[in-house]
């Protein structure tokens, strides 16, 4: 690629505050963590491929499934979402960058450092091993000696800072930096879902932050938040975790819904059916998502009233979700379908998400859930919604938008090969888990006895997982090939409707030389939908924020402090605090544009 917006050495990437570059960095980092999380998954599957396998010890197995979950949720799907938010939002709303470009860069660096911090645990005594949900009081020092859980607590805390900072930035950006005429109900659905997701992030992360602080205190300062002997309640942890954790899964799926709401209309060559319903249902899902958390706790004994309330709320949330699915199908109905890779992934998403949603609704009934909870049925459910759902949707988005990012088209044949390999092997891997769960195979166990009826399905699942892993290589190959010799994408290879497609691929450093004036939803599909200004030198080149080293410096502070806390070194913790404070002042006194 010889595009000037990506040119420059390491220093230019470390000090960048350009949302497009930051988006690319999020994508690359997420990709690397996806590989790591995928290897963890494959090791899990290899261990479970046969009964009483001795390939992986129970200790290592606990670390693997904990890190697989933590990595996929926090270091892959969320950053991948961020990659999309970062690259696209300013373009979609007609802005030149986000509201706070340096804060944006900071969010990336602290995420990256947190991911490295968390994974470094493998080298320092072992990775966290109490599950991605870290239930108390397994996580107490009594039952989890050493620093594995402290790695987890501190790593997640750092990630929370990244997410909250990023979400704050996108909320201000979407509220305040829209081009003239870009009313809220004219915004692209992806922008809307980003706004909703960002609110979920700022509202949900504080709760888990408090839970993590309590756990840190219990483990390091002798408090009794989760110590039953002192009157503490282990369920308080579960409440705090799931008050965060349930909105978190909507944080993971709403951006995917946003992507689908753009891909389906573009490749049906038809406007999104029921746009207001898509938006309102997104808002409703987010709102209701805060009221269902105890459906993760149906088996702990909350009592019939609590169970019923949360059960009803959980069933209710299926309604706005269903509305979206009907709207997507209605969009395709009567459209002139472009059968390209993005649409394949979008249709794949709808199919797999419906399956995952159905198993989800089955969980919403407490009596049914008592059978299903802690079995592989749940594992099937969440992989169908998270992988079959979010990951498929994000691949649809990647195939759709990568040409805008790189300026080159991906190869269609390879894309379709990737899709079929992935779609088929995904189902081979995860569908048997419904069966396994129903027949009683528990979650989170490192092996099983032979002759319980689990052997064949596990073997099939493992075989599927190996092909699933291989399918990713097709995508990587496609991407590498495209970067080297893909045909030029041009501005709007798909004939899409939204503002980012008015710009060159990739867009110039400043995005829009003249801020457009928007007059309709789907501006490129409406007669007089948008008024674009001159792109040439009749308009002076916009002054953009200068690169800055303070974001990465500021990100180092908390990481050093966390390391100090981890190894119980007060000097190091204080050094981290000093770096943090000094960086804040350095940043505050540095003008944005120099």
């Amino acid at each position: 690629m010889s595009h000037s917006i990506y040119e420059g050495g390491l220093r230019s990437w470390i000090t960048t505050v350009d949302h497009k570059r930051i988006g690319v960095m999020y994508f690359v980092a997420a990709g690397v963590f996806f590989f790591i999380g995928g290897v963890e998954a494959l090791l899990i599957r290899l261990q479970l491929g046969s009964p009483e396998s001795t390939l992986i010890s129970s200790d290592l197995y606990s670390q693997l499934f904990t890190m697989h979950g933590t990595t996929m949720v926090f270091l892959v799907v969320m950053p991948l979402g961020s990659a999309f938010f970062n690259f696209l939002i300013p373009l979609q709303i007609g802005a030149r960058d986000v509201a706070f470009p340096r804060l944006n860069a900071f969010s990336f660096w602290i995420f990256l450092f947190a991911g490295l911090f968390l994974n470094s645990s493998f080298l320092f005594g072992g990775a966290p091993d109490a599950g991605w949900f870290g239930y108390a009081n397994l996580t107490s020092t009594q039952y989890s000696a050493g620093i594995r859980i402290d790695f987890w607590v501190l790593g997640l805390s750092l990630l929370g800072v990244s997410s909250i900072a990023s979400a704050l930035n996108f909320i201000v950006t979407i509220i305040n930096l829209r081009a003239p005429g870009m009313r809220l109900m004219r915004m692209p659905p992806f922008t809307w879902m980003t706004l909703i997701t960002s609110f979920l992030m700022i509202l949900a992360f504080p709760t888990i932050t408090i839970g993590l602080v309590m756990l840190l205190f219990d483990r390091n300062f002798g408090t009794n938040f989760f110590n039953p002997a002192a009157g503490g309640d282990v369920l308080l942890w579960q409440h705090l975790f799931w008050i965060f954790g349930h909105p978190e899964v909507y944080i993971l799926i709403l951006p995917a819904f946003g992507v689908i709401s753009e891909v389906i209309p573009t490749f049906s060559r038809k406007t999104l059916y029921g746009y207001p319903f898509i938006i309102y249902s997104g808002i409703l899902i987010a709102f209701l998502g805060f009221g269902v958390w105890a459906h993760h706790m149906f088996a702990v004994g909350l009592g019939p009233i609590a169970n019923s309330v949360f059960s009803a709320a959980t069933m209710l949330i299926a309604i706005p979700t269903g509305v979206k699915i009907f709207n997507w199908i209605a969009t395709m109905w009567g459209g002139r379908l472009r059968l390209d890779t993005p649409l394949y992934f979008a249709i794949g998403f709808i199919t797999l998400f419906i399956i995952g949603g159905l198993s989800g609704v089955m969980h919403s009934s407490p009596p049914t859930d008592l059978q299903q909870t802690d079995t592989y049925f749940v594992v099937a459910h969440f992989h169908y919604v998270l992988f079959g759902g979010t990951v498929f949707a994000l691949f649809a988005g990647l195939y759709y938008w990568i040409p805008k990012v790189t300026g080159r088209l991906l190869h269609e044949g390879l894309g379709k090969l990737h899709f079929w390999m992935m779609f088929i092997s995904f189902n081979v891997t995860f569908f048997p888990m419904h069966y396994l769960g129903m027949h009683g195979m528990p979650r989170r166990t490192f092996t099983y006895l032979p002759g319980l009826g689990f052997d064949l399905m596990n073997l099939v699942s493992t075989a599927g997982s190996l092909v699933l892993g291989a399918s990713m290589l097709v995508f990587v190959w496609n991407l590498m090939r495209s970067l080297r010799r893909g045909p030029p994408a041009g501005r709007n290879p798909w004939g899409a409707a939204t503002l980012e497609w008015t710009l060159t691929s990739p867009p110039p450093h400043y995005n829009f030389r003249t801020i457009p004036e928007v007059r309709a939803r789907d501006p490129l599909w409406r007669e007089d939908g948008v008024e674009l200004g001159p792109e040439d030198s009749t308009v002076p080149e916009p002054v953009m924020p200068s690169p800055s080293a303070w974001p990465i410096m500021l990100a180092l502070g908390p990481v050093i402090a966390a390391t100090g806390t981890l190894v119980s070194s007060l000097p190091m913790a204080l050094a981290g605090l000093a770096v943090l404070v000094a960086s804040i002042y350095g940043w505050a006194f540095q003008p944005l544009e120099r």
Binding site: A95, R96, D97, A99, F100, I164, L168, I171, V172, I175, N176, L177, R178, M182, I202, L203, A204, F205, P206, T207, T209, I210, G211, V213, M214, F217, F221, G222, T223, N224, F225, A229, A230, G231, G232, D233, L236, L240, I243, I515, P542, P545, Y585, L592, E593
Partner: protein
């Protein structure tokens, strides 16, 4: 920095601070909920009713309320271009905040002296975490305001000083408002 005028007419920093305050509502909400969940469940003493000193805390609460008045007078001075008033009232806000923190320190010392260490019981855990988090927020506010004061004294608070002081004020008032809730929940409803 606004690269073009904002869609709502409200400056970006102000929208940012209000959104951040929303997030902080959930932070303190979680802490308050946890405090309430564990209320009365300590297995050993000392218990809150034995320790709290209502008259003392009423005074510190009053101090914090007055610091909000000082803050708003500081903002008013900045908006009028009254440099002397700005300096006086920013300093007053910070000083009142420090007095409040001094009161917290005295209270904590007294509690520890009476046997309520951090790890003593559920009251100690939830009380110190909740009020400690609040106190940390006050401390950050004092540092922030002192920095603004220093910049104003050196004359380099800049052209956007009204916006910056306003945003700092929003943070400060929010921290005060949280204390209003804590005063009621922890002390008056002991």
């Amino acid at each position: 920095m606004d690269m073009h005028p904002t869609t709502t007419g409200v400056p970006n920093r102000k929208v940012l601070m209000w959104t951040f305050i929303g997030s902080e509502c959930m932070l303190f909400g979680t802490l308050i909920a946890s405090y309430l969940a564990y209320r009365g469940r300590s297995v050993v003493g000392p218990y809150p009713e034995e320790l709290v000193n209502i008259p003392f805390i009423t005074v510190t609460t009053f101090v914090l309320l007055m610091s909000s008045l000082a803050m708003v007078l500081a903002l008013s001075a900045v908006q009028r271009g009254d440099r002397r008033g700005t300096i006086i009232w920013l300093a007053a806000t910070a000083v009142l905040g420090l007095i409040f923190l001094g009161g917290q320190y005295l209270e904590f010392s007294h509690f520890v002296h009476e046997g309520l260490g951090l790890s003593r019981n559920l009251f100690s855990a939830t009380f110190y975490l909740l009020t400690g988090t609040h106190g940390a927020h006050v401390l950050i506010g004092v540092i922030w305001l002192s920095s603004l004061l220093g910049m104003e004294l050196r004359g380099n608070l800049g052209a956007e000083k009204a916006e910056i002081v306003e945003v700092a004020g929003l943070y400060w008032h929010f921290v005060d408002v949280v204390w209003i809730v804590l005063f009621t929940v922890i002390y008056l409803l002991v």
